[in-house]
């Protein structure tokens, strides 16, 4: 299956990646070759097969409702690109 340039652009946008026009062909070629590999799946009849989301059919373990975390802001924000007054700063968000 071949991906066209528009599709590549669209997935790149969804993934917040920039694919410059001069690399579109390269990416669409590589991605298409991966999809060709994957295409073998299509032919398999999986009617009635239960999808396997986990390697073993485990069920969810839940924890008691307790506050176990302390304020660790200083430590966490030491690695942040931009903070002020304890807030993470980002370019203006427009609603």
């Amino acid at each position: 299956m071949a991906l066209d340039n528009d599709t590549v652009r669209n997935i790149a946008r969804l993934a917040r990646l920039d694919v410059p026009d001069n690399q579109l062909e390269k990416y669409s070629g590589e991605l298409s070759s991966i999809l060709d590999l994957v295409a073998q799946m299509e032919a398999v009849d999986t009617e009635g097969v239960e999808p396997m989301t986990h390697p073993f059919d485990a069920t969810l373990r839940m924890r008691a409702d307790e506050v176990s975390e302390q304020n660790n802001r200083e430590n966490f924000q030491a690695v942040a690109p931009n903070t002020e007054n304890g807030l993470y700063l980002v370019p203006k968000v427009i609603d």
Partner: protein, 481 residues
């Protein structure tokens, strides 16, 4: 009445996000207490450090099941967390853990009161998810500040069917839901703090048309009043467009309460593709029957059941029963009072819906903050029953109780409000009045019976309101015969 009632039918569905009343977040051990310093309640998991993993809070599952049972819904014993993928700065992982195909709560129902009687609103589903953080738009060098304290707060998103046909019905549903979640104690219902938030899907169609019209989603309508106004505005806007031959665009619109208008949200215009898939970090949640039945056993009497009981067993009017069961604390106050006092239920209801609510409203207090306890109100009404107080003096005592001047009997004693029921004492006042008011006595004897009211009033005045008016009346009648 709005004109749309004639030509257009309004279709409304609500999505309500209720913050579940847990101690800690849904997938981490951070506190969810409101109002902390920014990012001081944001753990490694909440800020999505590389390598961290979510661990589900059992209490959040319990509260969700409780809600499901309260609306008679099917509980999905196997339910699955899914990732909803999108980029936003208040969403640290770049995905929200939510539920898509298999929510914890399936279809249920809620009854609302309308002008035309009781109406059943379908609840499509309710699913667990984590809340996002907050974007603060104050100017930080032209940037937005992100506070992740709220990120990971457990939410139950309750999605209704598009069953409502007017803004009034929408508000009735919302109030009913608000009352229910507080009743069963899964949510504190605090709308100012965002514990109970509402989005509305609104569309219109010509009456008689089977298909739904194109809908818009209204966000940011976080008070009952705004819900009604925002939907009203949106209906008018859609009618204007359609009547001008235009088309409704399916979009998300933000309600601006100050300007009373809805406007398109530019940031959401871009078509979303959330790429939902089951979260591989969280295996399916499987609920045992015993878990569900234990929760069922803890379920309190529901508002609708309570209201029916108040009407049928306690003999209250439908109006009083509705008002007194809308809030669980109010109902408890009523029952505590009624169970303690000798006064009739109806009398207790009158005092609560009258004197007590008026004072609470005036002071903007919740019933739980009432300066008068149910025990005090019960004693007060007992003193009316045993004729220690008259209706008027009882109100005086109520005011003193409100000002926390002491207990009922202390106040009665201190203010000397004890009703005079001693025949001799009343007789001497009656005699005084008869001798001081010869004109009125003459009029009465001439057959003007209305004048007795004046004479009783005189007795009351001279006794400083303490004489039993019935006794005074009777004695006057006898003496002037």
């Amino acid at each position: 009445m709005f004109t749309w009632d004639k030509q257009w039918e309004v279709v409304i569905g609500l999505e309500v996000h209720t913050q579940l009343k847990t101690q800690s977040k849904i997938f981490s051990g951070s506190s969810i207490a409101y109002g902390a310093e920014p990012n001081t309640q944001a753990s490694a998991v909440d800020i999505a450090l590389p390598g961290v993993l979510p661990v589900m809070n059992l209490e959040a599952a319990r509260l969700a099941v409780k809600f499901g049972l309260a609306i008679g819904a099917n509980i999905n014993k196997r339910n699955v967390f899914a990732r909803k993928n999108y980029f936003y700065p208040d969403l640290p992982k770049g995905y929200q853990i939510s539920q898509m195909e298999l929510p914890i709560v399936g279809f249920g129902e809620l009854e609302i009161d309308t002008e035309n009687g009781v109406k059943t609103i379908g609840i499509t589903r309710a699913h667990l998810e984590e809340d996002a953080g907050k974007s603060l738009h104050e100017d930080f060098q032209g940037q937005t500040g992100i506070d992740l304290n709220r990120a990971g707060t457990p939410l139950l998103e309750i999605v209704s069917e598009p069953d409502m046909r007017s803004p009034t019905e929408a508000v009735a549903y919302l109030r009913k839901l608000h009352s229910l979640v507080r009743y069963i104690e899964i949510c504190d219902g605090n709308m100012q703090e965002g514990s109970f938030r509402c989005d509305a899907n609104v569309s219109i169609r010509p009456r008689g048309q089977a298909e739904y019209g194109t809908r818009t989603e209204l966000k940011n309508i976080n008070s009952f009043r705004f819900v009604e106004r925002a939907i009203e505005y949106e209906i008018e806007r859609q009618i204007d467009i359609l009547e001008d031959g235009g088309e409704i665009v399916q979009e998300t619109r933000l309600y601006d309460a100050d300007k009373h208008e809805t406007r398109s949200m530019r940031s959401k215009e871009e078509a979303h593709d959330y790429r939902y898939f089951p979260d591989p970090d969280l295996p399916p949640m499987v609920l045992e029957d015993s878990f569900i039945s234990e929760i069922k056993a803890t379920l309190p009497e529901l508002p609708s059941e309570k209201r029916a009981r108040f009407e049928q067993k306690l003999g209250l009017s439908p109006a009083d029963a509705t008002v007194l069961t809308a809030d669980r604390a109010v109902a408890e106050f009523f029952e505590n009072t009624a169970n303690t006092t000798k006064a009739e239920n109806k009398v207790v209801a009158n005092w609560m819906t009258g004197e007590l609510f008026a004072n609470l409203n005036k002071s903007e207090l919740d019933i739980t903050e009432s300066p008068i306890s149910s025990a005090q109100l019960a004693t007060l009404l007992d003193r009316v029953c045993d004729k220690t107080l008259s209706g008027n003096t009882a109100k005086k005592v109520f005011s003193a109780l409100w000002e926390q001047e002491g207990d009922v009997d202390d106040i009665i004693a201190a203010k000397g409000l004890k009703q005079i029921t001693d025949t001799g004492e009343i007789e001497s006042i009656v005699d005084e009045v008869i001798s001081n008011c010869p004109d009125q006595v003459a009029q009465f004897k001439e057959g003007n019976e209305k004048v007795i009211g004046f004479l009783v009033g005189q007795v009351m005045q001279r006794s400083k309101g303490k004489a039993n008016p019935q006794m005074a009346n009777q004695m006057l009648q006898e003496k002037l015969k």
